[in-house]
Amino acid sequence: MERLFLARASRVHRLAPEVKIAAVLLFTIVVVITPREEFAAFAGYAVLIALVAALARVPAGWLLQRSTIELPFVLLAVVLPFAGHGERVDWLGMSLSIDGLYGAWNIFAKGTLGVLASLLLAATTTMRDLILGLDRLRCPTVITQIMTFMLRYVDVLIDDARRMRIARLSRGYDPRFLWQVKAFAVGVGALFLRSYERGERVYLAMLSRGYAGRMPSAGDTTAPAREWALSSTLPVAAAGIAVAAAILA
């Protein structure tokens, strides 16, 4: 579960999780409400992201590799100029819809910036800290509790699934391609139960050691105003760019 976290000793890493979550959220909101015609503003946002990445010592290649999650949406963006309605332009012998071109740009620009901002958050904050941050941002305990268990159990599930697969293989089971689905379908109920019973034991052990719905945190302090001020430079700068672009246009 920690494969999106990039351990570095940077200033961004040391910020309290709640200020980072708030900054990324506000930044994304500014990006999304920017009109799609403001090309200069989007360039400015990209520069901001690059600055934060540099400050956090997250390599560009690392970010780009993980931003491929966005690819399906890029495919949609490629289709839009052909499928859109309205006025059309001819380019290299292809008839493209102007509205579709703007739509494609809109999805590509906003999607990419949002994905990069989230990836930077994940790269600089561990899962445990993220949950702590959500908790300090007054996220209901029920949700943070489910989240804590979910992150614990994902690893239990994956490990149990791997053990069951090795057990099948060592009994001479050699499925290819789609036929693997059969074993998965037959085993999925057993996998669920095995994981549950393992998780239940862990949970009871936690309860008997005093767990009461919230993980204990070392030094239960809220973020100092200095950290809020530092992290707010990202959304404030983005808002400044948006306003400047709107005035210039």
């Binding site: 979550i21 949406f73 309205g86 990069l116 989230s118 990836l119 489910i146 159990y153 999925v188």
Partner: protein, 234 residues
């Protein structure tokens, strides 16, 4: 070829005002769920809720490639409803979506309201209504619990996908024909719903056979109260 939702709705697909309205809807819906879930969430349900969320998280990584550029994934709402009930179930799905948006950049942060409304609220509510109805009507066997899971999955998933169509009609950022979007979404998600239904049905049937005490949907039919709290839901 009209629409893609290979992952969840990303930033910029639906315009700002509509996204904002749906964030309010999602927050209001989740607030109700949180209040009701506090009553439900006991020592037995807490680890189950975590596991259900982890399970949904894991199966959502499986993306079905239905057409080139068009794919979708399992939602898991029905499984959650049967195993942990509607309130905690909706929270499980919402938690998965929140983690995916925050950590895996899957689904836009500003589109989180849309995603939660579709998958955690609409999909789960549809599944819950069907489960509650079918379990009353069908004979009380393990087989009919499986059938219920299958039917509720298919319909829940399709209803959730139509939630996207409604949002697209309200605030789509590009002009695509609505009929086409609706047909593609419903068609693709019927297939996904069948896949999801089979997984939900086998899981639920196994759990119901081995540990019936863990199946929330069967609480109302329990003859011998095993814990202090029984028969809370219909």
């Amino acid at each position: 070829m009209d629409d893609v939702r290979a992952m969840h709705i990303a930033n910029g697909i639906i315009n700002g005002p509509v996204s904002a309205i749906f964030i309010l809807i999602a927050v209001a819906g989740l607030a109700v769920c949180v209040r009701r879930a506090k009553v439900d969430l006991d020592d037995r349900l807490a680890p189950m809720a975590g596991l259900v969320a982890a399970f949904i998280f894991a199966v959502q990584m499986l993306n079905f490639q239905v057409l080139p550029g068009v794919s979708g994934h399992l939602l898991g709402g029905t499984l959650a409803v049967i195993l942990v009930g509607p309130w905690v179930g909706a929270l499980c799905v919402a938690t998965v979506l929140l983690v995916q948006a925050l950590v895996f950049a899957d689904g836009g942060l500003t589109a989180i309201g849309l995603n939660i409304t579709n998958m955690a609220l609409i999909g789960t509510a549809a599944a819950y209504l069907l489960v509650a109805l079918l379990l009353r009507v069908l004979p009380r066997t393990v087989g009919s619990l499986g059938t219920t899971a299958l039917i509720a999955s298919v319909i829940g998933v399709v209803v959730a996908s139509l939630g996207f169509v409604a949002e697209y009609a309200l605030g789509g950022t590009t002009e695509l024909s609505l009929g086409g979007v609706a047909a593609t979404m419903a068609g693709v998600h019927t297939l996904i719903g069948i896949g999801e239904g089979l997984i939900a049905a086998t899981t639920v049937v196994t759990v119901a056979k081995v540990r019936p005490d863990l199946v929330y949907a069967l609480r109302a039919f329990r003859k011998q109260p095993t814990v202090a709290k029984t028969g809370v839901t219909a």
